[in-house]
Point group: C2
Chain length 220, copies 2
DNA sequence: AATTCATTAAAACGTTTGTTTGAATCATAC
DNA sequence: GTATGATTCAAACAAACGTTTTAATGAATT
């Protein structure tokens, strides 16, 4: 049967969970099949049996969570659009629907959302060709809808400028989640005492950047 | 003789140049010694002869450029401090001394500065244990001086808040440089027609984030 | 011309890599 | 209980990995 759900947990899920953590910690190339199967406590051949190849396993690790994340983002955006009933939506609400949703997922430590968001963040700068294409497809619709919404929300700002700032916001968020270890060392000891403080602080920073006066070069 | 400088270029430098590009494109684990020596057109054993091990080669790739980058940053800061002559320095000037200096290095495409900054950006989220420790040492003094300067420039803002925002700014910049390929795909086609536009746009975004009103959670 | 030392060259070292194979085991259906 | 199909297992595969070794080459010194 395709359907599953044993008590301890499925072999498939155990592999995905183990791979998620190891990919986040060591990258794709730094994580061997044996590390994965050993952590998942399954036989070495199980990965190839259930997923085919390592590449397909990587794709499944992303698809498992990314699809629902982007669905949640779109759902949040649709709530805003219904509420607004044709009236313009505040940019801050749109930004929250996109980035806030991700940050809420990143706050879920026990469920693995935190691990996944860290993995996702580091993957943006580690773009194996096949993973890039996959991410692009997985993101296409969601990003498209949010950009459209932002264009409508801030019609007075050049669309190219909005694209740039969306880009910058993605960077700031990904780093805030994925790069904590690295910058912890760079900036000396950094109190991770209260990770729940990240979201409001980051949202405030993102909105500040979004609302910043335009650069001189972009006014020419 | 230790001194070198043949016409075409040194074996050592050819290895470093090749490694820099390949590490940026494929990561450390995704780049083999054979890929490096093949690209550099040197013998396979040359890397171990000149650098000892792969890890030491990685460190040298960073040290070669990072030391001078951080020296340039400190020099720019010292110019500001002398000019101010004890008076408070505008935060935007400090931010430019740190991030603008890096962006100017990233604008140097032919000299390899662009490649290196992309490598550096992706390394923050790919922190092999030994590379983290190395980066931390290499950055320590510079970051320390800039944080001190920022604390002095904006005494009314909580130091912890400044640390967070410095963190966010690092993220936005690293991504803007390192993550272009990935986000290019995520956000559809992105015009890299004029990479010189990046710097002013990003600086404006960073300053907007730095000046943003404090988050509610950080005011409690 | 002979010697010395740094560098380059080709070949091999033992591990580890992702993947495949064929038999053993399991649960379910007949 | 026997047959069926899915899953697990131990073992092996060729290929690629970082590193080492030993000999050949180069240019400078004596």
């Amino acid at each position: 049967m395709a359907e599953a759900g044993s008590r301890t947990t499925d072999t498939r899920s155990r592999i995905l969970d183990a791979a998620e953590v190891l990919f986040m910690e060591n990258g794709f190339d730094g994580t061997s099949m044996r590390m994965i199967t050993s952590r998942a406590e399954v036989n070495l051949a199980a990965v190839n049996y259930h997923f085919g190849t390592k590449e397909l396993l990587i794709q499944e690790v992303f698809r498992r969570r990314l699809t629902s994340l982007n669905q949640a983002r779109i759902a949040a955006l649709e709530v805003l659009e219904v509420e607004a009933a044709g009236a313009p939506i505040k940019p801050s609400r749109i930004v929250d629907a996109f980035f806030g949703t991700a940050l809420r997922m990143a706050a879920d430590v026990e469920g693995g959302g935190h691990t996944f968001m860290r993995l996702l963040g580091r993957t943006y700068t580690e773009p194996s060709e096949f993973v890039r294409q996959f991410l692009a497809e997985e993101y296409a619709e969601c990003v498209d809808r949010f950009l459209t919404a932002l264009y409508r929300a801030v019609p007075e700002v050049d669309r190219k400028e909005i694209l740039w700032r969306f880009h910058f916001m993605m960077g700031a968020m990904s780093y805030a989640i994925a790069g904590t270890d690295a910058l912890q060392l760079v900036t000396g000891k950094f109190d991770d005492e209260d990770p729940s403080q990240l979201a409001p602080r980051l949202m405030s920073f993102l909105l500040g950047g979004l609302r910043a006066p335009l650069a001189e070069a972009s006014l020419r």
